[in-house]
């Protein structure tokens, strides 16, 4: 395995969910983008699972 690039780079994060994680990273001077996340498909978990399985066929 060649070395993982992220091991030698500054962390740059996209945060999906709990905002506290993004706030802590920002306080430590890490670049962070907080997503305004809502449950996909209006919160229909079965539809989300279906979407996720379609994604698998990419």
């Amino acid at each position: 395995m060649s070395m993982l690039k992220i091991f030698a780079e500054p962390l740059r994060v996209i945060n999906i969910g709990v905002e506290g994680f993004a706030e802590d990273l920002k306080a430590a001077s890490v670049e962070v983008i907080q997503l305004d996340w809502r449950p996909p498909t209006g919160g229909n978990a079965r539809l989300t699972a279906l979407l996720a399985s379609l994604q698998d066929d990419d």
């Binding site: 395995m1 969910g17 994680f21 305004d36 996340w37 978990a45």
Partner: protein
Amino acid sequence: MAIRTEILSSFYQDSVVLMRIASHVRTRPGVREAAAFMGTPSNHGLLEQIGLATAESKEARPNDLILTVDAESDAAAEGALAAAKELLAQRRQVGGSAAEVRPRTLESALRMLPDANLVAISVPGAYAKFEAMKAIKHGLHVFLFSDNVPVQDEIELKTEAVRRGVLCMGPDCGTAYLNGMGVGFTNVAPRGRIGFVAAAGTGLQAVVSRVAALGEGVSHGIGVGGRDLSSEVGGMMTLFALEALADDPSTEAIVIISKPPHPTILPRLEAAIAKIRKPVVACVLGVQAPAQSAATWVDTLDAAADAVVALITKRNLGWGTFSDVSGIRARLARLQAKGPIAPEVFGLYTGGTLAHETHLLLDSLLGHDARHQILDLGDDQYTVGRPHPMIDPQTRTDMILKAGQEKAGVLLVDLVLGRGSHPNPAAPLAAAIRQASAMAAAAGRRLIAVGSVVGTAGDPQDLAGQVAQLEEAGVELLPSNAEAARFAALLVKPELAETLAVEVSR
């Protein structure tokens, strides 16, 4: 009794925000219980479970926010709902004033931060795969905090991650470090030369904190989630992370922290360790060291830190059962002189791995005995609709006060500092312990509090200040959880003194 419900439609908020609001509302006078949940199917189940489901709440959809209060009067219930809405409104204003554009999808976030290298995901488990798979397919590393992710989803995510050469840290990963920077619940430690592979939560936090105290630091800490070494997942991410750390020039030694792997996975782990040309320390709680191994095996978290620092610095840290034997003898004599100690140990833990470590140590020192009870208050059964006890101390302080009313012997506790944890967790813990000890004493019982603190000098809570608060409340603090557990065992079974002391002087 008055139960009032209000539904805020299309008002999504993350669960941590909602649990904080519910905790706050619960402290209002006249409020017996409060809940703030999104109307997902699992949350409807939780509301039923805590007896707060109402005709209105059952109508809420997954994007609708349910506020429910059980109070002693209509006025108290109405006041509590108004307070909850006020807190939500304040949050919206804070969010809006930051002049920060928030993308709605990973793709638009990537247009704003094209060189992003990590996606941190803490959405409800049912949606975790959807978001994590997108990130992995973009070639991004993933920190997956979400729990309740189906094991099949985990297998598919990790298979894809390994195929694409990226990390899938989790699900149910609380702590990670990349290039020295902590993500999630982490203690502030220097960037250093020790790499970690762990489940990961308080076990990793405890070892990293001790490594920092010994003057060393972290290169990377790869969390893999509690199921990685199961037969289903097959150790996919552990093996991937070990290989990555083996190839990383900035990592000079590796520590593996885990619960027992499935028996079919242990040989694969051993084979992977044997290929590594760096010192490896294995802390696999509850597993005897194999007769032959390329790794240095240890059975406690503090020994993992001591062993890896000794290996890379060639220092003899002389780790044993207690770091300060004469100090332990003096403390023991002082506590014994004050009168008899009931032979019971009651552990109230916020850290799961710390609780597990204590459980193993007490079983070996005291034997299986119903009088020794160790509870992990971060376990699902104690966190229904409430934040983790590292964030919200209420569940534990309530149990400590109850212990003060009925128990005698040793009360064993942990305190975990760091980013993500409560801003001043020693204050409520110290107050509860003071009150419990006083209640016990008034009833002619003796309750001795023993504990340890996981934290570093760099943590936001001020390690020295936290330690001082606990000591002022009379807590017998030890330098590590393993030492605290051994000291508790010594207090309730003084004849262990010789055994433990003999081990120390080895």
